[in-house]
């Protein structure tokens, strides 16, 4: 993993032009956590040591 790589932040609802309905918040948050885990797994990849 490139320790100097900048963090990659997920976009906000405002940034994608979406007014997030309140009933969506728990589900969206859970899915964002899952996606963040997947991204972290990928960013820790080092082809040199794979």
């Amino acid at each position: 993993m490139d320790e100097t790589a900048p963090d990659i932040a997920f976009l906000t609802p405002e940034a994608i032009g979406l007014e997030l309905p309140a009933e969506c918040v728990p589900g969206v948050d859970a899915n964002l956590r899952l996606l963040a885990d997947h991204l972290e797994r990928l960013r820790s990849f080092d082809p040199e040591t794979a």
């Binding site: 997920f10 976009l11 007014e19 997030l20 309905p21 899915n31 899952l34 997947h38 797994r41 794979a50």
Partner: protein, 439 residues
Amino acid sequence: MIATLAAEVRAGRRSAVSLAEAAIRAIDPGLEAVTRLLADRALADARAVDAKVATGIDPGPLAGVPFGVKDLFDVAGLPNTAGSAMRRDDPPAVRDAEAVARLTAAGAVLVATHTMDEFAYGFATINVHDGTTRNPHDRARLAGGSSGGSAAAVAAGMLPLTLGSDTNGSVRVPASLCGVYGLKPTHGTLPMAGVAPFVESFDDVGPFVGSIADLRLVYEVLRGAPLAPKTREPRVARLGGWFARNVSPELATAIEGLGIADSVELPEVDRARSAAYLMTASEGGTLHLPDLRRRALAFDPQTRDRLIAGAMVPPEAVAVAQRFRGWFARQAAALFERHDVLVAPATGCVAPLVEDPTIVIDGARVPARSHLGWFTQPISFIGLPVIAAPLLRPGLLPLGLQLIAKPGREDMLFAYAEALERAGLIGVSAPLRASPIAL
């Protein structure tokens, strides 16, 4: 079965109308596999096939064969709903999807459209609008998804042929759980015109049928050309590592029983799944963003929340996934230098219960809807062709294999699948054989 049905129709020994009528009678609403029964169209098309036969014109290699399509194929005169209630009032399609047109040009007769996960985002065919498709082998269980209605229709003997689509496993997972054959072709090689997209980086159309001969016939019609004749026996290996873990003991034993001497490993499969997951979320979310902005509450809540989160994936994250994809494809290509076919599970277990739609991964219960593609998602991530083949297990719930080749080598898949079927290792079990339209 398909070739035999078509031969009977071409010879005038059986009418296409009688086949269409039998298929219409065979529709079982209790399975929740059919969304629209197209009886008028089917009977009109069948009469046209019979008229050709009567005047000495060959209707084609699929003469009179009834078939159905997942609810995301354009069907002339009907809205393409892609499994969503919000699309039911869309303008009707002007013409059939190209894959549908190729089948009908070969004489096949469209009878029904089939249930799917909304917008194809799921592996369960749990659809809040159209219902949950039941597994014909045990109605208390899921059919798998997202093309679950198409797979269940063939498994139940309602239809001898259906079409689905596969993005991350949506043909292979339901084929495995319903015990029928399915094909995910080399990415981009079968026509996608008139198919509602989900993730264009991975989307492909694919058929479900009851035998490997049927699969070859339908695949050749869809691609518009015969496969090259076999020139040598395929070199086969099992995929170990990721593909040998989270597999039920009965499936592990069955794979062992195939007698494959070589075992190889693909590296970094967990990251391949992660990359496919991210790209799917991002492309799917972006595709549906206009509707999410306008009418989010009209979506199935589970689909909606996944799509919204996907739309929030930044381009930098997608770029990371795409870079990894190139590396992973090179690792797979290296394996295919020594082997033509790699064998892996399609699903790790039999169909989950509808009342408990979960599977066990690494000792934890996780949602089937998002995890049944555990073994399929890393393969379609790099566009490889796969035959989903049912292990022959009479009296037991179905389990399926993935037979995987390098891009463009479907001929090797068919050669190996035909050998396995001849050896009695793969094939369909009841309830398909109770089909009311079987000869």
